[in-house]
């Protein structure tokens, strides 16, 4: 496998790695005010807790709602009102409902500003793998992952930089099956925030957390 095209010049270094909450807050910081945003199932959902209500960010859930509210408290649970992770949510004023084809038309038509997704791997070309481990006995299940991957003006990935055994998840090219090609714009991890430079097919380290830029370059093999 060829080396990762990585550019760490100009990276800002921070002393501590990001824990899960700090990572969610870091992602939230890059969400523009008044943006329309889809937060993927799992960890990306927690970004909502760090969005300033005054910033006017509007959440989309692909099961047919714009202006989605927070998770429902126990006494607020309505089985007809759930998010894409099937978690009960609430309806704030100004929300709207639409059917699944209209919802994915909204997504695929490029109307969302930001989509935040988890990932197994991201390549230097911005290719995303997050739906299938490629294990021969795995039952394939894609959900909305492939639509989300290509369905926003900017796609943010949020993940740990390394697997449990220390293997980098930012890779020269995908070894897991792709969810979408050339679709990722920014990667937020515990150890660093990266931008994908699509023209140069290069990963640009913007900020390092708890590691030096040089350390990260070495770990990623760039």
């Amino acid at each position: 496998m060829s080396a990762l095209r990585l550019d760490v010049t100009g990276a800002v270094e921070h002393p501590e790695p990001l824990d899960r909450a700090a990572l969610a807050a870091r992602v939230a910081r890059d969400v523009p005010d008044h943006a329309y945003v889809n937060l993927g199932i799992g960890q990306p959902t927690t970004v909502a807790d760090h969005l300033d209500p005054r910033a006017g960010v509007v959440l989309h859930t692909e099961n047919g709602m714009l202006g989605m509210g927070r998770a429902a408290r126990e006494d607020e649970v309505d089985p007809d009102l759930i998010n894409a992770g099937k978690v009960p949510v609430v309806e704030p004023p100004g929300a709207s409902y639409f059917h699944h084809a209209d919802s994915f038309a909204m997504m695929r038509g490029g109307h969302l500003d930001v989509c935040v997704l988890g990932a197994f791997q991201v390549s230097a070309a911005g290719d995303l793998a997050n739906w299938h481990t490629g294990a021969p006995d795995a039952i394939p299940a894609v959900g909305g992952a492939m639509d989300l991957a290509i369905g926003a003006k900017q796609v943010f990935v949020m993940m740990s930089l390394l697997t449990k055994d220390g293997t980098p998840k930012i890779v020269p090219s995908l070894t897991y099956p792709a969810t979408g090609l050339g679709c990722v714009d920014r990667v937020f991890t515990d150890l660093g925030v990266f931008a994908i430079d699509h023209e140069r097919q290069t990963v640009v380290l913007l900020e390092a957390y708890g590691a030096s830029a040089a350390d990260l370059a070495e770990r990623l093999g760039g």
Binding site: P79, L81, H99, F104, I139, A141, A178, L181
Partner: protein
């Protein structure tokens, strides 16, 4: 008045379901799941069915019960694998059920195409992935697309909030999901509702599924 008929017995409302039929089943998780109609579908005894739905059943009720009763030859869905989808998992691993996994947006749009008389469409979703293998690809204005074909049902089973005597439907919150799309894409659409309202009681501006798409309504 349109031609929508009203039924209290969901099995009667499925009269005509035949072995080998393709059945579109609404719902995203349990929201919008036509529970009574799925149970009635089991009761009809129809087998060798193709089921098109977002998921492939949970636990041992609803779609999972239909699968467990060995009535389903093939599932077309976006997300078969869930925490408690062990009935599907078992059948799949035993090679006893066919699976076509379709990205959720393509699933919705392919049914919309069937309902709208579109012969096929170029979708940006899935390009360069396993799920596009064997499909025609085309570059249009510098972007790559995959050719996707319509998905038609012999039947659509849908849950809605209310129907009026014309068969017009409204839904409730995110339980709307696939219902309005599936209602357009089947030869016969059967809808279970929580309430029926009088003629003129439904706001014509707020109707989501016009009665032309609704063949049979099962009342609460």
């Amino acid at each position: 008045m349109g031609r929508t008929t009203f039924h209290t017995d969901p099995v009667e409302a499925l009269a005509g379901v035949a072995d080998g039929d393709t059945v579109l089943v609404g719902g995203f998780g349990m929201a919008g799941m036509p529970v009574r109609l799925v149970d009635a579908l089991i009761e009809t005894g129809a087998t060798d069915l193709t089921i098109v739905s977002n998921n492939a059943g949970n636990g041992e009720t609803g779609l999972a019960a239909l699968l467990k009763a060995r009535r389903v030859a093939k599932v077309i869905c976006s997300f078969p694998r869930q925490a408690d989808s062990y009935v599907f998992d078992g059948l799949y691993r035993a090679g006893e059920i066919e699976l076509e996994v379709v990205p959720q947006g393509n699933l919705a749009e392919r049914m919309r195409a069937a309902g709208a008389g579109i012969g096929a469409f170029y979708s940006p979703t899935g390009v360069g992935t396993l799920l596009a293998e064997g499909k025609e690809q085309r570059t249009i204005d510098g972007r790559d697309y995959v050719l996707e074909m319509p998905i038609r049902g012999d039947w659509a089973l849908v849950a809605a909030q209310a129907a009026d005597p014309m068969g017009n439907l409204v839904y409730r919150k995110t339980a709307r999901n696939f219902g309005p799309v599936m209602a357009t894409a089947a030869a016969t659409t059967v809808v279970e509702v929580r309430e029926t309202v009088e003629l003129g009681a439904m706001d014509p501006e707020a109707v989501v599924t016009p009665g032309i798409y609704v063949d049979r309504v099962v009342t609460a």
